[in-house]
């Protein structure tokens, strides 16, 4: 009884969805931005439904599985213009051209009422790695530090790049489904505090599909990282309507351009151009990973998000495959 009352109340709230963008997933997400019954979440832990939008690459499958298993119960996955993975039983698929809102709402209601069973894990609940017999405790590093015991990266001493102090750094992989990164881009970052010491491209961003709305979608992603979710939603809606009218003025009023310091003048210029619906040219000579070294987290995300797809494809191509780095990792943040 109490459960039914709770479901009755809960199904009236907006459906929290985490959207994993494949090719063109960005534009598909923008179609959901103006639907008040759907709220797009930044963390997979805050969602009830994983929405895979657009075709994804084979290389993204492990990340997708890990992402799915981080969803809290009751949960479900919807494949919007994407082919379901073999693990997905009773898969809900929607054609790319269709609007998924009605299906999402119904699925959400059924989950809350218990009429549809919550999806089980897709990965076995066991460490993704073998125990490696290196280091004092077999974790692969030195002493109690470093290495990747059971596939979990541990902090390791290293020289801090700015002042040459010996500090611990930690390596994590973000993407390819992180909402604040261009879809498909996955980076391996070595972090010391919130400063990036080293970056490596794991998978490149999806190639541009040449949509005219791309600059506004890019601006929306930057506005999200600037802490302006409402304006970002407005940019997404503008992208759907192909009109950037008033957007730049609104961004100026919120201080979106003023917030960027002089070191990020390039990002500011690109944001301004994107808000106008255009693209500021970038010589594209320096690699993305070189431009990220020494940057603080938010600035780095802003800079990554500011490149247009053509430049990004040029400066952040796929890295050579490295067997060692392809290990699955339960803690890897794809969300």
């Amino acid at each position: 009884m109490a459960v039914r009352a709770l479901a009755w109340l809960a199904e009236r709230s907006a459906t929290p969805v985490y959207i994993a963008c494949g090719q063109d997933g960005d534009a598909m997400a923008a179609r959901l931005a103006q639907v008040p019954a759907i709220s797009l979440q930044h963390s997979i832990r805050h969602a009830a439904i994983l929405l895979v939008a657009g075709p994804y690459r084979d290389a993204d499958r492990p990340a997708l599985r890990r992402l799915h298993d981080q969803l809290p119960h009751p949960r479900a996955t919807v494949w919007w213009g994407a082919v379901p993975l073999a693990e997905a039983q009773d898969a809900v698929t929607i054609a790319q051209g269709d609007h998924p809102v009605a299906r999402l709402r119904r699925l959400d209601r059924n989950l809350l009422r218990g009429e549809r069973a919550s999806e089980p894990d897709w990965l076995p609940d066991e460490p993704p790695n073998e125990w490696r017999g290196k280091g004092d405790h077999g974790q692969g590093g030195e002493g109690m530090m470093g290495g990747v015991p059971y596939g979990r990266p541990m902090a390791m001493m290293g020289e801090e790049m700015r002042d040459a102090l010996m500090l611990d750094a930690m390596t994590i992989t973000i993407g390819p489904f992180l909402r604040t990164l261009p879809p498909g881009l996955s980076l391996e970052l070595t972090l010391q505090g919130d400063v990036i010491q080293q970056a490596r491209v794991v998978t490149p961003a999806y190639p541009a599909s040449g949509g005219a709305s791309e600059p506004l979608l890019r601006a929306a992603r930057m506005l999200e990282s600037l802490g302006l979710p409402d304006l970002a939603r407005r940019a997404q809606i503008s992208a759907m309507r192909d009109s950037a009218e008033g957007l730049l003025a609104a961004a100026r009023r919120c201080g979106a351009l003023l917030a960027l310091p002089a070191e990020l003048a390039d990002v500011r210029a690109r944001l301004e151009a994107a808000l106008r619906g255009g693209t500021a040219p970038d010589p594209g000579e320096e690699w993305l990973v070189d431009r990220l070294a020494g940057m603080e987290w938010q600035s780095a995300l802003l800079r990554i998000a500011s490149f247009d797809p053509a430049t990004l494809a040029q400066i952040a191509p796929a890295a050579e495959p490295d067997e060692d780095e392809e290990d699955g990792d339960e803690k890897e943040r794809a969300a």
Partner: protein, 299 residues
């Protein structure tokens, strides 16, 4: 002790009001009955699983939202609703509030640290770096407000505003203090803890009831802060016609609206720039505020 139910009534009303104001400001007018939207959201979170990360510091992780909420209650306990109508009539009211601010930073840090995940850790780390200087300058601003009252008690500070509100007498005070309010309730331009660029920061790994508790604690702290700001700068319970508690509630609501609007409409600058702004510009401004208050007290 009629003040204790008043504290909880103000907190509950403030949490509800702030949650609605937030939805209204972000123009998400769904569902149509916006007044009940927080209840529905709460029901959703209650029906969701509470996830566990791998090897978290479970005790601190669970304690953090509780401590955060308890600090909001403790901070509100020194705010008077009418002359003499206060839970804890301490001579050192604003020092207690300062201790609550400091411990809030500890609670947010622990929330990020104990999840055993990278993005929450960065959120907690970054929040501390910004939160500490913000708290420091709020203390200078509060001391300046205490000068005309010649007392550290919140009740005396309210009484000292019978002729003129501190907002007018010390024009720098309230804007600087609002900055801290945005910081300790993790909001908009000062949200370095739970920011969207970190996928939710310290709250990135929490779901279900835990996330509900964290959200309520954030709004409770926002309410406590607004009530404190209303008492110290807007004359608290003072006002004609209406009874004291009503005036305090109205002024608290006004500050909640201001804070919500600021939170939704100002961009967040990268942390190093905010840090420089805090230490190089805003902290000297708070000294200036103190000097103005001191000169005024001497005249």
């Amino acid at each position: 002790m009629t003040a204790i139910p008043l504290v909880f009534a103000l907190l509950a009303a403030g949490i509800w009001f702030a949650a609605i104001a937030e939805r209204f400001a972000s123009a998400r007018r769904f569902p149509s009955a916006i007044v009940l939207a927080p209840l529905w959201q709460a029901a959703r979170l209650l029906s969701q699983q509470r996830v566990r990360t791998e090897y978290p510091d479970a005790l601190n992780w669970a304690l953090a939202p509780l401590v955060y909420g308890a600090l909001a209650v403790a901070g509100l306990s020194v705010v008077p609703f009418a002359p003499g109508l206060v839970v804890a009539p301490l001579d050192t009211g604003i020092v207690l509030w300062g201790a609550c601010e400091a411990l809030t930073i500890v609670a947010v840090f622990l929330h990020g640290w104990s999840a055993n995940s990278m993005l929450p850790l960065i959120g907690g780390y970054r929040f501390v770096a910004i939160g500490l200087p913000a708290m420091l300058l709020s203390m200078f601003v509060l001391i300046a407000a205490a000068l005309p009252a010649q007392s550290l008690a919140v009740g005396a500070i309210v009484e000292s505003q019978r002729s003129m509100w501190n907002m007018v007498r010390q024009p720098l005070g309230l804007p600087l203090f609002l900055l801290l309010g945005l910081a300790i309730s993790l909001r908009g331009p000062m949200d370095y803890g739970d920011a969207s660029d970190l996928s939710g920061g310290t709250a990135a790994e929490v779901s279900g009831p835990h996330r509900l508790a964290w959200g309520i604690a954030r709004l409770a702290m926002l309410t406590a802060f607004a009530a404190m700001g209303a008492s110290v700068f807007l004359g608290g319970y003072l006002g004609p016609w209406l009874p004291g508690p009503a005036w305090l509630a109205l002024k608290t609501a006004a500050l909640l609206l201001v804070l919500t609007w600021l939170g939704c409409n100002l961009a967040r600058m990268p942390a190093p720039r905010m840090m420089a702004a805090l230490w190089l510009v805003l902290l000297p401004l708070s000294f200036l505020d103190l000097v103005i208050a001191g000169v005024e007290a001497l005249l």
